[in-house]
Amino acid sequence: MTHISHDPDAAPEPASGSGAVPRPRRRLSEDWIATALGLILLTLVLTGVLADGLVP
């Protein structure tokens, strides 16, 4: 648990030297990653690429 993310339900990093909660590092938001991943998977399902039986 080292990086900072803009995530609901996320526990913070251990205390840093400044004491105050720091500014987030620039990185692709996990929200957008989840959105993209979810919609890509949905597309694969609706187009038949991911069919019943392939999903564990």
């Binding site: 900072i4 996320a10 251990p14 909660v21 720091p22 500014r23 989840a34 979810g38 949905l42 399902v45």
Partner: protein
Amino acid sequence: MSAGDATALDSTSPGTGPRAGQPDARVPDARVPVEAPTPPPSVAWTVAGLLLMVLLAALTRFLELNVPVWTEGTPLARIAKPVEFPVYAIALGLLGNAVLVATNLKDKVAAAFRTELFIKTGVVLLGASVNLSLIVTAAVPAIVQALVLISSVFLFTWWVGGKLGLDDKLRALLSSAVSICGVSAAISAAGAVQAKREQLAYAASLVIVFALPSIFVLPWLVDLLGLSPAVAGAWIGGNIDTTAAVAAAGTLAGEDALALATIVKSTQNALIGVVAIALTAYFAFKVERRPDAAAPGVGELWRRFPKFVLGFLAASVIGTLYLAQVGSDVGKPVITVANDLRTLFFILAFVSIGLELRVKALRAAGWRPVAVFGLATVFNLVVGLALASVLFAGFEL
């Protein structure tokens, strides 16, 4: 869970936190310790953590399918039958947690525990099975419930925190966490009021410790009170603090309750930005009396808006249009495959919840914050039930 966020105002506003080793002039007793930076996680250990999660997820599925069969015809059958995958997933996660702590491996593999990524992806996939018309009709009562519940619970928690002598910043964190949506709200509030990391860690731990039992208690209360799926979903979504726990409790309460709980929770999540802006302004201008402080902009609302809610909405649009296009007979079996994928991501998220739980931070701050959070949770339950019963009575799912 991966570490939390903070508002961009932290480093640009006046009165940003002190340098390491220096006293914090804003808080006389807060001499800040210097700590070594955390090393980045090793890829090999992260992969090991992911494999562990996949193994526990597979075991969850195995138990869910086979325990009812094994216990059939025995006295345990009555208990085993209604136990669903969230229970097995969290239990296995907690077991894994204990083993990892005992073997001193937890910190090495923790980077793999991506609860938020799994739950958000699952929520996006859930959108495909939620008809857009449901979201449209539920929007108004969900927004009304969110506004009334957030305001009343926030102010109650703030008041109780004051009566029990909590520091203003911790009051802000706890009030945000219990009234809006758990850890993300605490993180937003922490940035807004420039709270100490230790206070945020404490608030975050409290959220998780209270959310875990609520996964099982609320569905049980729903059964006991004989609530309709709509009222159950609205109550669960408005009460439980974390999105993952809402998904778990909603799953236990039924598919219809899960859909509405997700809509209500998403509506509350979306209001984080509004509260963060209000807190920033209040602390800058009133508490710390910094008239030169930069006023928070409207752009902050977008920055804090939980973007995965857009994915949920998009999936609902796609699912609704797909079913309209191909018809229910062809479309529903396909949507069921998406639901199976959603369940897989939810299982991973619930396993991760169990694996990640840390109670160390709770020991630090004493009984008062626990008492505040507990009282606020009960208040939230009562007011939430009243609101859900009024706003969602007769709501057709």
